[in-house]
Amino acid sequence: MNIQEFIQKVEHEFDQINPGSLTPESKIRDYFEWDSINALVFIALVNVEYDVEINADDLQQSETVTDLYQIIENRKNSVA
């Protein structure tokens, strides 16, 4: 798992993000709000791809793509 792969998966899942436009430093809220639907789609993606559970607080507290990626990586390592 690396952050480029993660970015590609997110870009693929969300139609409103143009492929290639997201970087590790991108601010999530510049692209979309964490309304209920976007949150569920993201949570599903992370759960199915990485087997990691993300909750509403995680989303609210994350500013950048790297923040989200860090949560996933930390949780994946703590489980493994």
Binding site: D35, I37, L40, I43, A44, E53, N55
Partner: protein, 352 residues
């Protein structure tokens, strides 16, 4: 132990009934058109059926039961057991199955029971009904599910209102020594009971003339009172992703079968994103998962038998089928059942 098997009980038929009134979520004016489109795409609910204001769960259950009995040439006088799964009974008391005994014309020795269960309700009800059929040797029993969730969803709550549809279903069970065993895995986590609930109107928090009816805003587009359904989408979603796949894997292994041994995996039609995500976690093909949520929405305990009738009637009536049922939600409760059916009666979906 949530894992068990029931012998000597056969699923002999299934019917379902939906209100004729179709509601199109593309017309849900409370949301902006782009948001409606996103909602339909993600949840899968394009259309749903809504009962008129005078129709009750007993009305729908009655129609569905009579439709099935007619196709199987069953007489009401022969019915030994009626189990009704519903969370939208006609009255707080008595239980709605009692009324159905009379309205169906079943004899006074017919046992009637309500099961208060929602998303996992069909599997719960099947466990209760088949256990009674098996131990008592009943010749003819009916498992009914009936739900009118449209009545308790707030029109100004986008997290519930556009998802739910009304429906009822009936399944015929018979005592049969040659029947393949039904395998069950039923589980509960009551600590998360607040994730899906109607807060007021019960004995913990009786209806208050002012507070119960006050509209509270929880987030943009999520506005409801305390007599309406509250659903914590993210919590329920994470619960489903965490619990459903292991529950199903454990069931197959308990039954001595491979995960891929079922012909169809009939899931509670909660929403498309949940069904698809759990399916991917199980590593199973899309074609094995019949889907009816696009036309009928989430119909709570009716969704599994409704999907059997609307999507699998040909397979069920013409050959042997190995079926996996999985229901998950309110409680929180979740359960699965592995059942074998062979040439069962499946009359056409009834619209009333």
């Amino acid at each position: 132990m949530g894992l068990f098997s029931i012998a000597n009980c056969r699923i002999a038929g299934a019917s379902a009934c939906v209100p004729v009134n179709v509601v199109n979520n593309a017309d849900y004016e409370y949301l902006a058109p782009s948001e409606r489109e996103m909602l339909i795409k993600t949840t899968g609910v394009a259309h749903r059926r809504v009962a008129d204001a005078t129709t009750t769960s007993a009305d729908l259950a009655l129609q569905s039961a009579q439709h099935l009995m007619q196709s199987m040439q069953w007489n009401a006088s022969d019915i030994d057991l009626l189990v009704l799964v519903t969370q939208t009974g006609d009255y707080l008391m008595p239980a709605t199955s009692r009324l159905l005994q009379h309205r169906l014309g079943c004899p006074k020795h017919c046992i009637t029971l309500d099961v208060n269960s929602g998303c996992s309700g069909f599997v719960d009800g099947l466990a209760v009904a088949s256990a009674l059929v098996s131990s008592a040797g009943f010749k003819k029993a009916l498992l009914l599910t009936a739900e009118i969730p449209s009545r308790y969803a707030s029109p100004t709550d986008k997290s519930t209102f556009p998802l739910f549809g009304d429906a009822a279903a009936a399944v015929a069970l018979t005592s049969d020594k040659d029947a393949a065993p039904l395998f069950f895995n039923l589980q509960t986590d009551g600590s998360a009971y607040e994730a899906i609930m109607i807060p007021d109107g019960g004995m913990r928090s009786p209806v208050h003339p002012v507070d119960s009816f006050r509209l509270n805003t929880f987030a943009p587009g999520i506005e409801r009172n305390r007599l309406q359904l509250a659903l914590d989408g993210i919590k329920v979603f994470n619960f489903s992703l965490r619990e459903v796949a292991p529950n199903i894997r454990d069931l197959f292994s308990f039954a001595g079968k491979e995960l891929t041994d079922a012909d169809h995996y009939v899931f509670h039609q909660a929403n498309m994103l949940i069904i698809d995500s759990v399916r991917k976690k199980l590593g199973l093909e899309k074609e094995l998962f019949p889907i009816s949520i696009d036309r009928y929405g989430n119909t709570s305990s009716a969704s599994i038998p409704l999907t059997m009738v609307s999507e699998l009637s040909h397979e069920l009536s013409s050959k042997k089928q190995q079926l996996l049922f999985s229901g998950f939600g309110v409680g929180l409760a979740w359960g699965s059942c592995l059942a074998e059916t062979s040439h069962i009666f499946v009359p056409e979906l009834l619209e009333v």
